[in-house]
C-alpha cells in the first residue's frame, strides 16, 4: 500500500528517469515526497528508499544532512528569518525578537495550532532587501515589525495562498517530458570520437592537442 499519492509517485518516477544513476534523484524526490505531509514521515522515507533503490537508513542519513528536508513535523508555514551579516546590520536581531514575541514561540518551535514554525536562517541571498525572511521558501523583504505583523495576518487569513503554498510544496512547475537525447547513442559517438582523437595523437606523436574542447 503506497503512502505517497499516485500523483506524487508518478512525479517521483519521472525524476528517476532524468538521471544516469537513480540515486541522483534522491534529493529531488525527497522534496516531492515532502509535499505529501509537509515533512518526511517514516512511511514516506521507506517509499523513497524503495523508489531509489537504497535503504531507508541511507535516505534518512542523507536527508539529515540537508536543512530543507525535515524528518520531524513542521508547521504549515515555515518562517525563516535571516540573521546573517547583511541582515544583522539592518535590524535582523530586532526582527527575530519581534517574531518570537508575536508568534509566542522560540526559534525551532511550532505554534500550538500547527500554523507557524520559526527558524533563524543563514543568508538567503536576498540581502538587498534586508532584513528579510522566507515563508516556505518564498521571499519577503524590507521588513519591520509592522510589516511582519501584516504578513502573519495575511498568512492566517489565507490571503497569500496563491503565492505561498503549504510547507513541503517547493517546485510547482513540472518538467514537460523526459530526456530527449539517447545516452547510448551519445556514448557511442563520444567513444568513436575519443578513439579517433587517440589515434590522431598517436600518429602525430604529441598529446594534449585540442579537438574541440
Amino acid at each position: 500500500m503506497s503512502h505517497l499519492s499516485p500523483e506524487i509517485r508518478a512525479r517521483c518516477e519521472e525524476l528517476l528517469a532524468l538521471y544516469p544513476h537513480p540515486r541522483s534523484a534522491l534529493i529531488p524526490i525527497c522534496h516531492v515526497a515532502q509535499e505529501q505531509d509537509g515533512w518526511l514521515t517514516p512511511e514516506a522515507i521507506a517509499e523513497v528508499a524503495e523508489l531509489v533503490g537504497v535503504t531507508p537508513a541511507e535516505v534518512l542519513g542523507t536527508a539529515g544532512f540537508y536543512d530543507m528536508l525535515h524528518t520531524e513535523p513542521v508547521g504549515r508555514y515555515l518562517v525563516a528569518i535571516c540573521t546573517n551579516i547583511a541582515c544583522l546590520l539592518r535590524g535582523a536581531e530586532e526582527l527575530l525578537a519581534h517574531a518570537e514575541e508575536r508568534l509566542g514561540i522560540g526559534v525551532g518551535d511550532t505554534t500550538p495550532d500547527g500554523l507557524f514554525t520559526l527558524e533563524d536562517a543563514e543568508c538567503l541571498a536576498d540581502c538587498g532587501r534586508a532584513p528579510c525572511l522566507q515563508v516556505n521558501h518564498r521571499f519577503f523583504g524590507n521588513l519591520d515589525p509592522a510589516a511582519f505583523d501584516q504578513l502573519v495576518e495575511d498568512l492566517r487569513a489565507g490571503r497569500l495562498d496563491g503565492e505561498v503554498p503549504p510547507h513541503g510544496t517547493l517546485i510547482r512547475v513540472r518538467r514537460a517530458g523526459g530526456l530527449r537525447v539517447d545516452p547510448a547513442r551519445v556514448a557511442a559517438e563520444r567513444r568513436a570520437m575519443a578513439e579517433r582523437v587517440a589515434a590522431e595523437e598517436a600518429a602525430s606523436g604529441q598529446g594534449g592537442k585540442e579537438d574541440g574542447r
Binding site: H21, I27, L89, A125, R175, V186, A187, D211
Partner: protein, 434 residues
C-alpha cells in the same frame, strides 16, 4: 574615476517586468548567440571564450577558457552549473536565475556545445523556490523552441538539461560537494587531488563546473566577440561583473559594473549605485568578495574592482559581494556572526574546521557578552593559526576544502583593524555599542 558607460552584459533585460519570459528574451536578442555558436566549430567557440579572459564568477576566479581546456577526454563528459549561491551577502546569481533564466539556459547550451557534452545539470539552491520554477518553466519553453533537446536549431547537436534543486547546505556550493550532492549523497567535499572535476567529476566522469554568472556571460561573448569583451575592464579582469552591495548603504542591490575601471568608492558612494551611507555616517570597514574574504578599510576605497587589484591587498574579489559597515557597527559582533555561520555550515569532516569553528564562535560570543578574558585575543589567534597556519592570505590549507581556512578571515581582520575595540569589550565587560 566616474562610473563608466559600459554595456550591460548580463543584466540587459532587468528593466523589463517580463524579463524571464521567452517572448521578451526573443525580442531582445535571445538565442542569437547560440545560433551563431552552432555555426562555428566547438573548438572555435572554446577559443573565443578563452580569448575573452572570462574569469569564473563563483569565487575562485579561474579562467573559464582554461578550465574548459583541462577537461579530460572521455566518452561522457558533463557540464554542471553552480547556482547554489549561499556565500553570505552574495545575491547576484539569485537575480540572474529569477529574472533571466533563458540567458542562463542559452549560456549552458553554448558551453555544452563547446565542450561537446550531451547532458548538463543546473544545480540551484533549494531555497530559491521561485528561481527553480522560473528555470524549469524556461527550460520547458526552450525544449519547445528547439533550443534544447534533439538536433538543436537543426545543427545536429543534441543536449539534455536537468534542473536540480539543492536542499539547504552552504557547503554544497563547493564544487566537489556539489557533485556529491548531485549524486544523491551528503555534501561532503571530496579529497583533493584530483584538484579539478575536469579530470574526475560527476559519476567519475570528466566534468566542468561553472558558476551561473560565468555561464550567463557566454551569449554576449559569442554574439559580440571576445574583443568586445576584453575592450571592457582591464588586465585579466575583462568585461563587467555583478556586485552585490549590502549593509549600511542607502541603495543596496546588485549592480553590473565594468571591472577595474570602477572602484569600491564608486560602488558604495555614487548616487546611481550605493548612494553612500545613511545619515552620512562614517565608513568603518567593508568586506569585499563574500564573508570568506579579509576586510578592507576606508583607505582602500579607491581600489579598482579587479581581481588582481583586490588580491594585491591580501584579500579577494571572491563572489562579488560587498558588505558595508559604518561607524555604528560592532566589529566583535560582526566577526562573531560570520564565525557562527561557518561553524553551522561546516560539514564536519576535518577536525580544525569542525572544532575550531565552534571554539572561535564561543570565545567571540563571550567577548561580546562581556565575559571575555584578557587571554582571549591570543586564544582566538591561536585557534585561527590551527585552522590556517600563519593566518595569512591566501590561507594555508590543512583541510579538505577552503571553508575551514576562511574562518580566520573576519576574526583576524577584526583584531588587526579594531584591536582597541576588542580590548574595550574586555575592559568594560560588554559591548560599547550596546
Amino acid at each position: 574615476m566616474t562610473v563608466t558607460e559600459a554595456p550591460r552584459i548580463v543584466t540587459s533585460r532587468m528593466g523589463y517586468e517580463d524579463s524571464h519570459t521567452l517572448a521578451r528574451f526573443l525580442a531582445t536578442g535571445g538565442y542569437e548567440g547560440l545560433r551563431k555558436a552552432l555555426q562555428m566549430s566547438p573548438a572555435e567557440v572554446a577559443a573565443e571564450v578563452d580569448a575573452a579572459s572570462l574569469l569564473g564568477r563563483g569565487g575562485a576566479g579561474f579562467p573559464a577558457g582554461r578550465k574548459w581546456s583541462m577537461l579530460r577526454k572521455g566518452p561522457l563528459p558533463y557540464l554542471v552549473v553552480n547556482g547554489d549561491e549561499s556565500e553570505p551577502a552574495t545575491f547576484k546569481d539569485h537575480l540572474l536565475i529569477e529574472r533571466d533564466p533563458h540567458q542562463l539556459i542559452e549560456g549552458v547550451v553554448i558551453a555544452a556545445y563547446a565542450l561537446q557534452v550531451a547532458q548538463a545539470f543546473i544545480y540551484i539552491r533549494g531555497e530559491f523556490a521561485l528561481g527553480l520554477e522560473r528555470v524549469q518553466e524556461a527550460l520547458n519553453e526552450a525544449y519547445e523552441h528547439g533550443a534544447v533537446g534533439e538536433d538543436i536549431f537543426g545543427s545536429g547537436f543534441s543536449l539534455d538539461i536537468v534542473v536540480h534543486p539543492g536542499a539547504g547546505a552552504y557547503i554544497c556550493g563547493e564544487e566537489t560537494a556539489l557533485l556529491e550532492s548531485l549524486e544523491g549523497k551528503r555534501g561532503f567535499p571530496r579529497i583533493k587531488p584530483p584538484y579539478f572535476p575536469a579530470a574526475i567529476g560527476l559519476y567519475g566522469q570528466p566534468t566542468v563546473v561553472n558558476n551561473v554568472e560565468t555561464v550567463s556571460n557566454l551569449p554576449w561573448i559569442i554574439r559580440q566577440g571576445a574583443a568586445a569583451f576584453t575592450a571592457l575592464g582591464g588586465g585579466r579582469s575583462a568585461g563587467t561583473r555583478l556586485f552585490a552591495l549590502a549593509g549600511h548603504v542607502r541603495r543596496p542591490g546588485v549592480y553590473e559594473l565594468e571591472m577595474v575601471k570602477t572602484t569600491f568608492r564608486d560602488l558604495i558612494y555614487d548616487p546611481s549605485l550605493g548612494g553612500g551611507i545613511p545619515e552620512d555616517r562614517a565608513l568603518k570597514a567593508f568586506i569585499p568578495g563574500g564573508v570568506s574574504a579579509p576586510w578592507l578599510g576606508p583607505e582602500h576605497l579607491d581600489t579598482p574592482l579587479g581581481q588582481d587589484e583586490v588580491a594585491a591587498l591580501d584579500t579577494m574579489l571572491g563572489s562579488g559581494s560587498v558588505v558595508v559597515m559604518d561607524e555604528t557597527t560592532c566589529a566583535v559582533r560582526a566577526a562573531w556572526r560570520i564565525t557562527k555561520f561557518f561553524h553551522r555550515e561546516s560539514c564536519g569532516q576535518c577536525t580544525p574546521c569542525r572544532e575550531g569553528g565552534g571554539w572561535l564562535e564561543k570565545v567571540l560570543r563571550r567577548i561580546e557578552d562581556g565575559a571575555g578574558r584578557e587571554e582571549d585575543l591570543d586564544l582566538l589567534m591561536d585557534v585561527c593559526d590551527n585552522i590556517a597556519p600563519g593566518v595569512s592570505w591566501p590561507p594555508a590549507q590543512t583541510t579538505i576544502c577552503v571553508l575551514g581556512p576562511s574562518i580566520p578571515s573576519s576574526i583576524a581582520s577584526g583584531i588587526r583593524m579594531f584591536r582597541d575595540e576588542f580590548l574595550q569589550h574586555l575592559k568594560e565587560g560588554g559591548c560599547p555599542h550596546g
